[in-house]
Amino acid sequence: MDALLSNFTSPIVLAYVLGIIVRLVKSDLEIPKPVYQGISIYLLLAIGLKGGVELSKTPLADFAGPFGATLFMGVLTPILAFLVLRFIGRFDIINASAIAAHYGSVSAVTFIAAITYSELQGFQPEGFMPTLLALLEVPGIMVALLIPHFMAQGKQVSLKKAVREVATGGSIVLLAGGLAIGFLAGPEKFAGIEPFFVNGFQGALVIFLLELGMVTASRLGDLRKVGWFLVGFGVIMPLIFGSLAVVAGHFAGLSIGGTTVFAAMVSSGSYIAAPAAVRIALPKASPALYLTASLGITFPFNIALGIPIYLFISEWVASF
């Protein structure tokens, strides 16, 4: 409870709330797109670099379990999401797949927020978590996009384009590239660039979340349009996925911090890589549905409540 309250007064969450307010009062404040993109590049590269440096110190054996758990959850979540959306929510195949693709993928900001929160609560996550992040981006989207394909409603060519889009998308390239650079450079050579990529990180995140709050606010108007089912879905599915992920992460040998971050990753919905891929592969799907679900509902839920809850569950599961 205390940890929950403490999360509400973290500068990151407060900046997100400020962003929402900024739009609600119709302020003319704008974070220029290039600044937003610059910060985004910085954050992804920083995650990758730090992850790579840590990875260079990790024995490969420690990594096998989490690696498997990530692939497993990356395939499981989009299928589960699709089934729920299609057969309980009664969405058509295209829209159900489109939304499922977002929950199969992962939100990098939720990931970062989870890392920051865990560390603050005294639980250091494993250094190789960014590797899992990069890993989780791809299969989820692919699995969900394959569904309408097998049901003969998508076109071969766009699927290929979509996979390309994800695999060569800016965020994957920065994450994976950062990982490689960090890994090859190692801790010693990283020292020179550490002040830039480590000290500035949390502050840059504040500005990033300010913008994210503004973007979220412009989605809130769509909440009514998407219907109550999707709102409920956006809150309950992350809790289910997060709980499954805690169990999977625990058995894969992750620490409490690592399990928390893993649960946040798995339960989160992408709103950068997935929308682009889905727009290409399934242009008939409605962006209002998938963007509102992942960015307008699940993201704020995870940032404010989800992450503390996942930590709580992780501690509880670890106590057995």
């Binding site: 973007v215 929308p275 962006p287």
Partner: protein, 102 residues
Amino acid sequence: MELVKAKLITIITERLLRHEITDMIKLKGATGYTRSEVEGEGSRGIRASDFEGRNVKIETIVSESVADAIMQEVSENYFENYAVIAYVRDVEVARGAKYLRR
């Protein structure tokens, strides 16, 4: 100096399609194009990746037949699924022969 009559096509669409559309117009016979970033509102309000919420505006100077081919292609393959608007007008181009391959 002599001015040559030509068609100026403007296509405004989602950023996502920026390479696809320019590839298409080159394929249809355009010898060049000019592209810029714009914002816009239209009938759909679709913004695929909301963060890059900008549209692109692609302008190309072409001969009448190429213009027809491009407008045709846009109508057939993009109107249904994407946010796109396309319009043509007459212009007079200096050094026009250069842009009017066919």
